[in-house]
C-alpha cells in the first residue's frame, strides 16, 4: 500500500539539467518543489575526483555513470515485422542515471539549431517544392521559431559559460566564427578553447578548399568563468576523460557545476534520490494529473500529490512515462494516428579516418570533449539541395575527444583482426591517425516510433519501452553525399590514406553512434500531430509539461543539448509568467 505524502506545488520527475533549471526558478518564486531522481546523488567533490576518475575501463567501457540495465532497459527492432528484443547491455547510446543526468557525462558540445530547423517542413516545401520530401518522411515544424528562442539560447549559454567564437551577431558576420550560424544577440560568454593539432590539420585543409572553419562551441571552458547564478567554473585542462566521465576540475558545465548548489540552498526544494517513478496519476476525467507514484531505494511505495508535474527525465524515459501514465494518445504507425511515440529520430553519422606517417604526432589524448575544428558549409540547409535527392545535412569536423586506448586503436583496412599484424598496426597508427566526424540530420519517418513492449518488463514489473528504428532512405543518401565530402577534406589533410564509408542500413544498436535520441513527445501547433504544445505542455493534461529532446519533431545535424537548454528556459518563461497566473491550457487545443 502506497503511503500518501503531503501535497506540494511542483514535482520534477528526473533531476538532470531540465529538472534542475525548472526547479531552481520555480522554488525561487516560493513554490514547494520536490525533485524525484531514480539514481544517486553525486558531485564533483568527492565523486568525480582523480585518481579514480581517469579510469577508462570503469567509466567508458563498463559505463559506471549510465542507466543500470540490470533493472531497466529498452527493447529494440529495426522494423515492425521483427520481434523487439531487450538491449541486454547499453551500447548504442548512453542515457545517464543519477543527479545531473546525462549532462554529467556529456562532451560539452553546445550548439544552436538553425533558423530553418524550427520551420523545417515549411522551409523545405517553400525552397524545393512540396514533392521534394520523400512520402515516408513525417518531418514538421516545431511551433516555435528561432527568433523566439534566441534569448533562451543566450541565457543557457551564459549559464554554461560556453566557449566559442561568434559567427553572426545580430546579422553581422564575425571573423573566425561560423558564418552560417543563426544570428546571436551577443558573443559567447568565453572565447574558444585552444585548437589541438588534429583541428589545425583540418583547418588548413578546409581553408585550402574554400570552406569556413570555426572552433566547435564548447562547454568545457577556455578560462575561469562566473555565471549569472554566481557559480565559478574553471578552465578545462584537456585531460581527455570527458564524455562518459564526470569532470574533476569544475571545467565542464553540468547541473552540478552551473546551478545545483543554488537550488540545494533553497528550503523550498527537496531532492529525493533513488526514487523510481512508476506513473503519473490522473483524476477521473483523465485531464488533470493529481500525483506521482514512486518506489524508493528500500522498496517502499509512495504517492506524492502535486499541482504541477514536470516530466524532466531523459527523452526516451519522458515518452515511456507518458505511455505508462496514459497521457496523450499512443501513436499507431499503421494508421498514422496518435501522437505519443511519434517521430522518434536519432543522428546519422559517419567517421572517416585519416592515416598519417609516423612523423605526425597527433596526440589525441590531449583533448576536451568539444575542442574540435569544423565546418558548417554542409550543415542542414546551408547548401542547395535542389539538384540532390535528399534533405538534411551534416557538420564535418576533426572533433577527437580522447585517446583512451581500449576505445581508440585505429588500424587501416587489411589489418588482421588479431595477432602480430594487428599489434604492429596498433603501435604504428595509434598516435598518427585523425578521425573525422560527419554529424548528420535524422529525418523523422512514419515507421520509426516508440511504444510499450508487449513482452519485456523492468524490475518494477512495468513494460519496457520498445524502439523501432532504421535510417530512412533519405538519410542514407545524405550520408553518402556528405561522407564523400569529408573524404575529400581528408585527402587534403596530408595523410597517407583516407578510409571511410557512409552510414548504411540497418541501424545497429550495438555500436555507439550518439546519445541523441529525440522525439516521441514532440511539440507543435496541432494536437493531432504533436504530444505537447509550443510551450511543452501536454495537450491532454495541461498541468503536465514534458521537457527535453523528446519534444524535437526531427533531429538537426547539431548536438541537441543547447536546444534542450533553450527550450527549457522557453517553457519556464511560459510556466512562470503565464501558467502560474492562470493554470490551464496555454494554447487552445
Amino acid at each position: 500500500m502506497a503511503e500518501k505524502l503531503r501535497p506540494v506545488d511542483v514535482v520534477t520527475i528526473g533531476v538532470g539539467m531540465t529538472g534542475i533549471i525548472l526547479a531552481k526558478e520555480l522554488a525561487a518564486t516560493g513554490l514547494k518543489v520536490v525533485g524525484l531522481e531514480r539514481g544517486a546523488m553525486r558531485d564533483t567533490v568527492p565523486d568525480f575526483q582523480s585518481p579514480g576518475e581517469h579510469d577508462e575501463l570503469r567509466f567508458a567501457v563498463r559505463k559506471a555513470l549510465m542507466m543500470d540495465t540490470t533493472r531497466e532497459t529498452f527493447t529494440f527492432r529495426n522494423n515492425g515485422s521483427q520481434t523487439a528484443l531487450p538491449l541486454r547491455r547499453i551500447q548504442g547510446f548512453l542515457p545517464g542515471t543519477g543527479v545531473g543526468g546525462a549532462m554529467v557525462h556529456w562532451n560539452g558540445q553546445t550548439f544552436r539549431y538553425q533558423v530553418a530547423d524550427f520551420i523545417y517542413r515549411t522551409h523545405i516545401q517553400e525552397r524545393y517544392g512540396r514533392n521534394f520530401i520523400d512520402p515516408d518522411l513525417s518531418i514538421q515544424d516545431w511551433g516555435v521559431t528561432y527568433q523566439e528562442l534566441e534569448p533562451h539560447f543566450d541565457r543557457f549559454e551564459y549559464l554554461c559559460g560556453t566557449s566559442g567564437t561568434a559567427g553572426n551577431i545580430d546579422g553581422k558576420i564575425q571573423p573566425g566564427g561560423n558564418p552560417f550560424e543563426a544570428p546571436r544577440s551577443r558573443p559567447y560568454p568565453t572565447p574558444a578553447q585552444k585548437e589541438p593539432y588534429f583541428g589545425a590539420l583540418f583547418r588548413k585543409a578546409v581553408d585550402g578548399l574554400g570552406y569556413h572553419a570555426y572552433p566547435q562551441p564548447s562547454s568545457n571552458l577556455s578560462q575561469p568563468y562566473t555565471n549569472p547564478e554566481g557559480l565559478t567554473m574553471n578552465a578545462c585542462v584537456f585531460c581527455g576523460f570527458c564524455e562518459r566521465f564526470g569532470c574533476e576540475h569544475y571545467a565542464k558545465s553540468s547541473p552540478q557545476t552551473m546551478l545545483l548548489p543554488i537550488l540545494l540552498k533553497n528550503p523550498n526544494y527537496e531532492m529525493r534520490t533513488n526514487c523510481q517513478v512508476l506513473k503519473v496519476n490522473l483524476d477521473s476525467t483523465g485531464k488533470k494529473a493529481v500525483s506521482v507514484s514512486y518506489v524508493d531505494g528500500a522498496g517502499n511505495e509512495f504517492e506524492q500529490p502535486a499541482e504541477l508535474i514536470l516530466i524532466t527525465a531523459y527523452s526516451l524515459n519522458n515518452v515511456r512515462l507518458m505511455l505508462l501514465s496514459g497521457i496523450g494518445k499512443p501513436y499507431d504507425p499503421r494508421t498514422g494516428e496518435g501522437v505519443v511515440g511519434r517521430n522518434y529520430a536519432y543522428q546519422t553519422s559517419s567517421g572517416p579516418l585519416v592515416f598519417y606517417d609516423e612523423s605526425v604526432n597527433v596526440n589525441p589524448f590531449m583533448a576536451s570533449g568539444a575542442n574540435g575544428t569544423m565546418i558548417d558549409d554542409f550543415g542542414g540547409e546551408n547548401f542547395d539541395h535542389g539538384a540532390l535527392k535528399f534533405i538534411g545535412g551534416a557538420y564535418i569536423g576533426a572533433l577527437q575527444t580522447h585517446g583512451r586506448p581500449i576505445e581508440w586503436h585505429p588500424t587501416p583496412p587489411g589489418t588482421p583482426t588479431w595477432g602480430r599484424g594487428w599489434k604492429d598496426a596498433v603501435a604504428r597508427h595509434y598516435n598518427h591517425t585523425v578521425a573525422l566526424n560527419v554529424h548528420g540530420t535524422s529525418t523523422a519517418s512514419r515507421a520509426n516510433h516508440l511504444d510499450l513492449d508487449p513482452t519485456y518488463k523492468d524490475a518494477w514489473g512495468l513494460p519496457l519501452m520498445r524502439i523501432t528504428f532504421d535510417f530512412p532512405d533519405n538519410d542514407i543518401r545524405m550520408s553518402a553525399y556528405l561522407t564523400e565530402k569529408a573524404m575529400e577534406i581528408g585527402r587534403a589533410m596530408g595523410g597517407t590514406a583516407v578510409v571511410g564509408s557512409p552510414r548504411t542500413k540497418p541501424y545497429n544498436a550495438t555500436v555507439y553512434q550518439s546519445t541523441h535520441n529525440t522525439g516521441g513527445a514532440i511539440m507543435g501547433s496541432d494536437p493531432r500531430t504533436s504530444a505537447v504544445n509550443r510551450y511543452l505542455q501536454s495537450w491532454d493534461v495541461p498541468n503536465v509539461f514534458v521537457v527535453g529532446a523528446s519534444a524535437y519533431p526531427q533531429n538537426s545535424c547539431y548536438n541537441p543539448t543547447g536546444t534542450v537548454g533553450a527550450l527549457t528556459y522557453w517553457a519556464l518563461d511560459a510556466i512562470k509568467n503565464r501558467y502560474l497566473k492562470s493554470p490551464g491550457a496555454l494554447v487552445p487545443a
Partner: protein, 259 residues
Amino acid sequence: MTDKLSRRTLFKNAGVVGAAALTPTLLARSHAEAMPAAEIAQASAPRARTAPAAARTAYIFFNAQEAAFIEAAVARLIPADERWGGALEAGVPNYIDKQLASAWGGGERLYRSGPWQAGTATQGYQLPFTPAELFRAALAAINKDLAAKRTPFARTSAEDQDVYLKSLETGTTDLGGVPASVFFAHLWQATIEGFFSDPVYGGNRDMISWRMVGFPGAYASYYDLVDRHGIAVTRAPTSLSQDAAGHVHVNPNIPPKVP
C-alpha cells in the same frame, strides 16, 4: 627506476614547492617541464620483455585446464615481439580471471529477464549466460574438444594455435550452448581490455601497452601542451595507483565558493 618516479619527485626535480597554491595553468606547465631529460630518455626506452608472467598468476576463477588454454590463446591474440611483450606478459589472463570472478563476471549491468530468443546482429547479445557462465561453458567444451587431440593446445605450434583460434573466430560450432564466434568475441574484447586498461585491474603490467602506443595514462593536464602541435610526448605513463600515491590533480579552486 623511472616507473617508480613519483609525482612528488617530479615536483621536487622541478623545484616546485607549495603545489596547493598552483593555478591549473601552472600545474600543467609543471607536468610538462618537470621531468629531466635523462629520465625522459629512460622512460621512453622500450623495456626488455619480462618473463612470461602466467606462472605467477594466482587464479581465483579459472581452473588449471581453463587457465592453460587462456594463457596460450591470449599469447597468440596479442603475441610478444622483439620490442614489446604481448597479452601474456601484460598479465591479461590475470585480468580476465579477476573480471570473471567479479560482479562483472556475475552479470552486473546485464538485463537477464526472459524470454530468450536469438535476434538480429543489430539487437546484440541475447544469451542467458553471464560472462562467467559463458567462459566456463565454452572453455569446458573447448578443452573437451582439445583433449581428443594428441598434443595439448599450449604445446602445439603457434601456427596450429592460430588455425584453431581462427576456427573459433569464424565458426558456428556449439560450445556448450555458446556459438564459437560469440565466445571468441568475448575473449577478444576481454583481451583488449586487459591489455589496455589501467594496471590496477591486473593486466597491462608495467603499462606495457601504453608505452607501446604512447598513451600517457591517467595524466590530468595538457593545458600547456595541447597547442604545441606535433610534439613527441615521451614521459613515462601514469597509472591510477601511482596517481594515488602522489595526488597532484587537486585543483586549488575546488570546491569553488557557493555565493
